[in-house]
C-alpha cells in the first residue's frame, strides 16, 4: 500500500512478531497442565511458582513441536540452541526472569509465500522462531486495594515467530497471519485461536518515502487480538506516522497499544522502568542439542502443507489456483472437499458446490466447516444423485437447502419428497402433449419461426412435471414434437 502524502508517496514497512502457544499437554519446563481455563492457580507446579530450589526440565514434546513448525516454514532447525534468562520484575513473573532464547534460537531463516489478489505471490522472510515461557496473569479488578495473580499460564510454552520487515501493506500483514495460522493448524503445533490468546501478534510499523532504502523509525503495536485489528492498527499507525512526519515532527521509537473501541493506537503509559533485561544463558539448562535423526524423523512425518496441497489440487483435480487456495486455507475445508471430490468424474463441480453452496450456507449460519450440518459424505451423496440423473441440478439446490436445515442425507430427502427425476419418455410425452394442446397459438408462432419460444415450452413442461423431468430428455422430445 502506498500512502499519498502532501509531500509525496510513502511506503509502509511492517514486521510481525507472533506469539503462538504450543499445543502440548504440559508446560515448557514443568509437568503442570497447559490447558486453557481451569480454576485460577489450579494448574501450577512448584517450578511454575518458582519455589526455592526448583529447576526447569525441558519438555521434549514441545521441542518437537518447534522443530515441526520450523520445517513447516522452510526454515533451518539449529542442532544447538541455548536458553537464556530475560530478567525483569513483575508480580506475575514468579522467577523474576522469563526463560527464552536470545542469541541462539532453535529455528532461523524461514519464509512464507502469500497469495495476493491478481495471482501475485509475495514472499515474506521469517527471521527466527524461538521457544519461551509465558508469564502468569495479573488481575487488577478483583479488589480495590490488591492485585490478584493467576499462575495457570505461567510457564506455558510459546513459540515467538519473528518476520523480516518485508510486509508492505495491511493486506499483506493479514495474509501473512492467515498463512502462518493455517500452517500452525495443519501441523497441530498451535490452535491459532487469537480470541483465547493462544496466538498473539505485535506489529512493528514504520514508513519511508517511496524509493528510500533506509528504514524509518518504527513503533511497536502490542498484543492485537485479531487479524482484522492488526490490519486496522497498521493502517492507522502508518497514516499517523506520515502525518506526523509531514507536519515536521519525528517518530520516537515507542510501544503503542491498539484501542479497539476508538480505532486508534496510543502510547503505552510512560515506562517507569527502562528495561535492561540482562540476558544471560540459563545455568540451570544445558544447551539444547538436537539429534539429526529426530529432525529427519519429524521431517518424514510432516503432513501436506497448504502450498503443496494447493499445487496438488490444481494438478490432480484441475481446479483454478484461486479455488484451490480458497479450499486449502483451512485444513478442514480441504479435507471436506477431498472427501466430496474423491473418485468423481467432475471434481470442479465438487469444488463449486463446496465453495459456492456450502461456504455460502455456512456463512449465513455463522458456523465453520467442522460444525457443518451437511457432512462431506452427504454432500457427496447429493452430487452422486445429480451425476446418475436421479435429480436435476435445480432440484439438487432445493434438496441442499433441506439438507442444510435438517442435516438429512440427500437420498432420504429425494425419496420422501418424491423428487426423483422423470426419465420415462411416456410420462414426458404426455406432459408435452398437454402443454401443446393447451397452447396451440404459441405452437403455431413457434412453427412460424419464433424459435425463441422453445425455452418457454421447456419451462412449462418442467412445471408440469414438478421439475422432476430430465431436462435433456424434455429438450430432445420437445424439439421433435414442435418440429413435427
Amino acid at each position: 500500500m502506498i500512502i499519498e502524502g502532501k509531500t509525496g508517496k510513502w511506503e509502509i514497512v511492517v514486521g510481525l512478531e507472533v506469539h503462538a502457544q504450543v499445543v502440548s499437554k504440559a508446560k515448557l519446563f514443568s509437568g503442570a497442565s497447559a490447558t486453557y481455563g481451569g480454576d485460577p492457580n489450579g494448574q501450577v507446579s512448584f517450578v511454575d511458582a518458582a519455589f526455592p530450589g526448583m529447576l526447569p526440565v525441558i519438555n521434549g514434546f514441545v521441542v518437537e513441536q518447534a522443530i515441526k513448525t520450523g520445517l513447516g516454514i522452510e526454515a533451518t532447525v539449529n542442532e544447538v540452541s541455548v536458553f537464556d534468562r530475560k530478567n525483569y520484575f513483575y508480580a506475575d513473573l514468579p522467577q523474576g526472569y522469563q526463560i527464552s532464547q536470545f542469541t541462539r534460537p532453535i529455528v532461523t531463516g524461514g519464509k512464507l509465500e502469500l497469495d495476493m489478489p491478481g495471482g501475485v505471490t509475495k514472499t515474506v522472510g521469517v527471521t527466527r522462531l524461538h521457544l519461551e515461557q509465558d508469564a502468569g496473569k495479573s488481575m487488577h479488578d478483583q479488589s480495590p486495594t490488591k492485585s490478584y495473580i493467576d499462575l495457570n499460564r505461567s510457564g506455558v510454552a510459546l513459540m515467538e515467530i519473528v518476520s523480516e520487515p518485508d510486509i508492505r501493506s495491511p493486506e499483506e500483514a493479514g495474509a501473512y497471519l492467515k498463512k502462518l495460522r493455517a500452517i500452525l493448524r495443519y501441523l497441530g503445533t498451535c490452535d491459532g485461536n487469537m480470541e483465547e490468546g493462544s496466538m498473539r501478534c505485535d506489529a512493528n510499523v514504520s514508513v519511508r518515502k517511496v524509493g528510500e532504502t533506509k528504514f524509518g523509525t518504527r513503533n511497536e503495536i502490542k498484543n492485537v487480538n485479531s487479524i482484522r485489528f492488526v490490519m486496522q492498527a497498521i493502517e492507522y499507525e502508518a497514516t499517523r506516522q506520515v502525518e506526523e512526519l509531514e507536519n515536521g515532527g519525528t517518530i520516537v521509537q515507542e510501544t503503542r497499544l491498539w484501542d479497539t473501541s476508538k480505532g486508534v493506537t496510543r502510547p503505552m503509559r510512560s515506562k517507569e522502568h527502562a528495561h535492561d533485561y540482562r540476558y544471560f544463558p540459563d545455568p540451570d539448562l544445558l544447551p539444547l542439542v538436537l539429534d539429526p535423526k529426530v529432525i529427519a524423523r519429524i521431517k518424514a512425518e510432516m503432513p501436506e502443507l497448504p502450498d503443496a496441497k494447493k499445487a496438488r489440487f490444481v494438478s490432480q483435480y484441475k481446479l483454478s489456483p484461486y479455488d484451490a487456495s480458497v479450499l486449502v486455507a483451512e485444513q478442514e475445508q480441504a479435507d471436506f472437499f477431498e472427501t466430496v471430490a474423491k473418485g468423481r468424474k467432475d471434481p470442479k463441480l465438487a469444488a463449486n458446490w463446496v465453495i459456492v453452496e456450502l461456504f455460502g450456507a455456512l456463512n449465513k449460519k455463522g458456523v465453520d466447516v467442522a460444525n457443518s450440518p451437511v457432512s462431506a459424505k452427504n454432500l457427496a451423496g447429493l452430487l452422486d444423485l445429480m451425476e446418475n440423473d436421479t435429480i436435476s441440478g435445480r432440484i439438487a439446490k432445493d434438496v441442499f437447502q433441506i439438507m442444510v436445515e435438517t442435516g438429512q442425507d440427500a437420498a432420504t430427502i429425494v425419496k420422501e419428497k418424491g423428487l426423483t427425476q422423470v426419465t420415462d419418455t411416456g410420462a414426458i410425452d404426455a406432459a408435452i402433449a398437454k402443454v401443446m394442446a393447451e397452447n396451440e397459438a404459441k405452437v403455431a408462432e413457434y412453427r412460424a419461426g419464433k424459435v425463441t419460444l422453445f425455452g418457454w415450452f421447456v419451462g412449462q413442461v418442467m412445471k408440469g412435471t414438478g421439475g422432476k423431468a430430465n431436462p435433456a430428455k424434455v429438450n430432445e422430445i420437445l424439439k421433435a414434437k414442435l418440429g413435427g
Binding site: F46, A49, A50, F51, P52, G53, M54, L55, P56, V57, I58, R85, N87, F89, Y90, A91, P94, Q95, G96, Y97, S147, I149, E272, D276, R278, Y279, F280, P283, D284, L285, L286
Partner: protein
C-alpha cells in the same frame, strides 16, 4: 564402649547392626550433645522429635535385619536444603518461616538410605560468605579456640555443618560448595569435606546461589565416613538437567591405601604471596607423606589461577542476582507491604536480605547490564574456559593435584569483617575447582602454631572422586590427625 557421639559412621553402622545399641539411644545421645552445645549456634532449627521418630523406624528395620546403608545415622542438614515441613531459610530473613512442601533430592536420598535428621544447620546467608558471619540467625562459633581464647569463625558458608561435625553433635552433615563452602570450613574445623564433580549430586531442592557452581557434598569426621555418605547422596536426577547420568561407584571400596606409582601435581601458581610459612610447611609435609607412600610428585602449571577469584566474583554474583529475584514477597517468605508493587519489592528485599547478599546482587546486576555484559560476564566465561583447560593440561601429567585448602587457619569472629576482598581471598585455592567443575576434598593434616586445624586439598579429574578417597585415605593415615577442639 566409647561414647556414642565419638564414634564414626563406620563404627556406628557396625554397632547398630550388631545390636550393641539402638538407633533411639544413638539419637538421644546426639540430642543431649546438641543441647549442651547450643552456644555454638550451629543449628537454626533442631528437630529432635523427627530424629526420634525416624530412629524408631530404623530400630524396627534393624531388628528385622533390613537395615539400609545409613540406617539410624543421625545427621545435620545444611539449611540450604529444602526439607519437607521443616523450616528452610538459607540463613536469610527473607525465607524465615518458610516450610517447603517438598524434600530436596539429596536429603531424600539420605533418608531413603536410613539416615535420621537432627536439625537444620546454620550457614552464611544464601551461602554467601567464608566465615558464617552473614547468617540472619547469628554467627556460628568454631569449637576450636585460639590460644588467646577468642571465639573463632568456623569458615563458611557451611559453617554450622563444620562446627557441628567437629563438636560431635552430629555424626556428619551435608554441605554445599560454590567456591569453597565445604572445603574451607572443613579445613578450619579439622574435618573432612568433599565437593564432588559438578553434576554428581542433584541440585533439585537446594536453594540456588550460583547454579553453574553449586554442588552438594558430605562433611564428616574422616575420609571413610565421607565416602559412605557421598555414595548415598549422589546419583542422577531427571529433575536436575545438569545432573549427570553416570553410575555412582562404591567410594569406600576405592580406599585401598595404595598410591604406589600415582602422580600428584603441585601447581606452582598456588605459592601465593604472603602465604603463612606454616601453610607452606604443611603442604611440603603432605608432599613428603605421599612420596613416602610411593606416589610421585610432579610440578604442574595452572597459569590462569590468578584470574580465578575475579572470574568467580563476576559469574557467581551474576547468577545469584537472577536466582534471588524470586524472593519478591509475592508468593512465600517475608513480605513488607508498600504503596505500590515496586515499593513492596524494595521494602521486602531491603529488609529481607543482609548486606553481603545485597552487595552481590548489586555486583551481579551490574556485570549483566547492557554495555558491561561483554566486558565482564562474557569475558569471565572465557576465562573460566581457560581455567578448565589449565586443569585439562595438568591431567596429562598427573592423576590428582595437592594444594593447601585455605591460605590461613580460622580467624576470629569480627576479624576481616570490614574487608570483603580480604574475606574473598579465603577461597583462593578452592574457587578454581568450582570454576572447572572438578571434585575437591579437604583432609585435616596438621595444626597451626596457634593449635588450630589446617587442611590439605586434593583436586581430582571429573567424576574421579574415587582417586580422591584413595589418596585422601593415605594422607589421613599419614597425618594421623587426632586432635580435638577444646582438648
Amino acid at each position: 564402649m566409647a561414647d556414642l557421639v565419638d564414634m564414626t559412621i563406620a563404627q556406628l553402622r557396625d554397632g547398630l547392626k550388631a545390636g550393641r545399641f539402638s538407633a533411639i539411644e544413638l539419637a538421644k545421645a546426639y540430642i543431649a550433645a546438641i543441647e549442651k552445645n547450643r552456644g555454638l549456634n550451629a543449628f537454626v532449627v533442631e528437630t529432635p522429635d523427627m530424629a526420634l521418630t525416624q530412629a524408631a523406624v530404623s530400630d524396627q528395620r534393624l531388628q528385622k535385619g533390613e537395615g539400609r546403608p545409613l540406617e539410624g545415622i543421625p545427621l545435620g542438614i545444611k539449611d540450604l536444603f529444602c526439607t519437607r515441613g521443616v523450616q528452610t531459610t538459607a540463613g536469610s530473613h527473607i525465607l524465615e518461616g518458610f516450610k517447603p512442601p517438598y524434600e530436596s533430592t539429596v536429603s531424600q536420598n539420605l533418608f531413603d538410605a536410613g539416615a535420621t535428621m537432627l536439625g537444620k544447620l546454620n550457614m552464611d546467608e544464601f551461602a554467601m560468605g567464608s566465615a558464617n558471619i552473614t547468617s540472619h540467625f547469628g554467627p556460628v562459633k568454631n569449637p576450636w579456640k585460639r590460644k588467646d581464647g577468642k571465639d573463632l569463625v568456623p569458615g563458611g558458608s557451611s559453617g554450622g555443618s563444620a562446627a557441628a561435625v567437629a563438636a560431635h553433635i552430629v555424626a556428619a552433615a551435608t554441605g554445599t560448595d560454590t567456591g569453597g563452602s565445604i572445603r574451607q570450613p572443613a579445613s578450619f574445623t579439622g574435618i573432612v569435606g568433599i565437593k564432588p564433580t559438578y553434576g554428581r549430586c542433584s541440585r533439585w531442592g537446594i536453594v540456588a546461589f550460583a547454579s553453574s557452581l553449586d554442588q552438594a557434598g558430605p562433611m564428616a569426621r574422616d575420609v571413610r565416613d565421607a565416602a559412605i555418605l557421598l555414595k548415598a547422596m549422589a546419583g542422577h536426577d531427571p529433575k536436575d538437567s545438569t545432573s549427570v547420568p553416570a553410575p555412582v561407584p562404591n567410594y569406600e571400596a576405592a580406599m585401598t591405601g595404595n598410591v604406589k606409582g600415582l602422580k600428584f601435581g603441585i601447581p606452582k601458581e598456588y605459592r601465593v604471596d604472603g602465604m603463612p610459612a606454616e601453610i607452606e610447611k604443611l603442604w611440603q609435609q603432605g608432599i613428603d607423606w605421599l612420596k613416602a607412600a610411593g606416589a610421585e610428585p610432579v610440578e604442574i602449571s595452572l597459569p590462569h589461577t590468578k584470574y580465578a577469584l575475579p572470574t568467580y566474583y563476576i559469574i557467581a554474583p551474576a547468577e545469584a542476582s537472577s536466582n534471588l529475584a524470586r524472593y519478591d514477597g509475592v508468593r512465600y517468605g517475608l513480605r513488607v507491604p508498600g504503596k505500590s508493587l515496586d515499593e513492596m519489592y524494595e521494602n521486602t528485599r531491603a529488609e529481607g536480605f543482609g548486606a553481603e547478599v545485597r552487595r552481590r546482587i548489586l555486583i551481579g546486576t551490574y556485570v549483566l547490564s547492557a554495555g558491561y555484559y561483554d566486558a565482564y560476564y562474557l569475558k569471565a566465561q572465557r576465562v573460566r574456559t581457560l581455567i578448565f583447560n589449565d586443569f585439562r593440561e595438568a591431567w596429562k601429567k598427573c592423576d590428582v593435584v595437592l594444594t593447601p585448602t585455605a591460605p590461613s587457619a580460622a580467624f576470629g569472629i569480627g576479624e576481616k569483617e570490614d574487608d570483603p576482598i580480604g574475606m574473598y581471598l579465603n577461597d583462593v585455592f578452592t574457587v578454581p575447582v568450582n570454576l572447572a567443575g572438578l571434585p575437591g576434598m579437604s583432609v585435616p593434616a596438621g595444626l597451626s602454631g596457634e593449635g588450630l586445624p589446617l587442611g590439605l586439598q586434593l583436586i581430582g579429574k571429573p567424576f574421579d572422586e574415587e582417586t580422591l578417597f584413595r589418596v585422601g585415605g593415605v594422607l589421613e593415615t599419614a597425618a594421623n590427625f587426632t586432635a580435638r577442639p577444646g582438648a
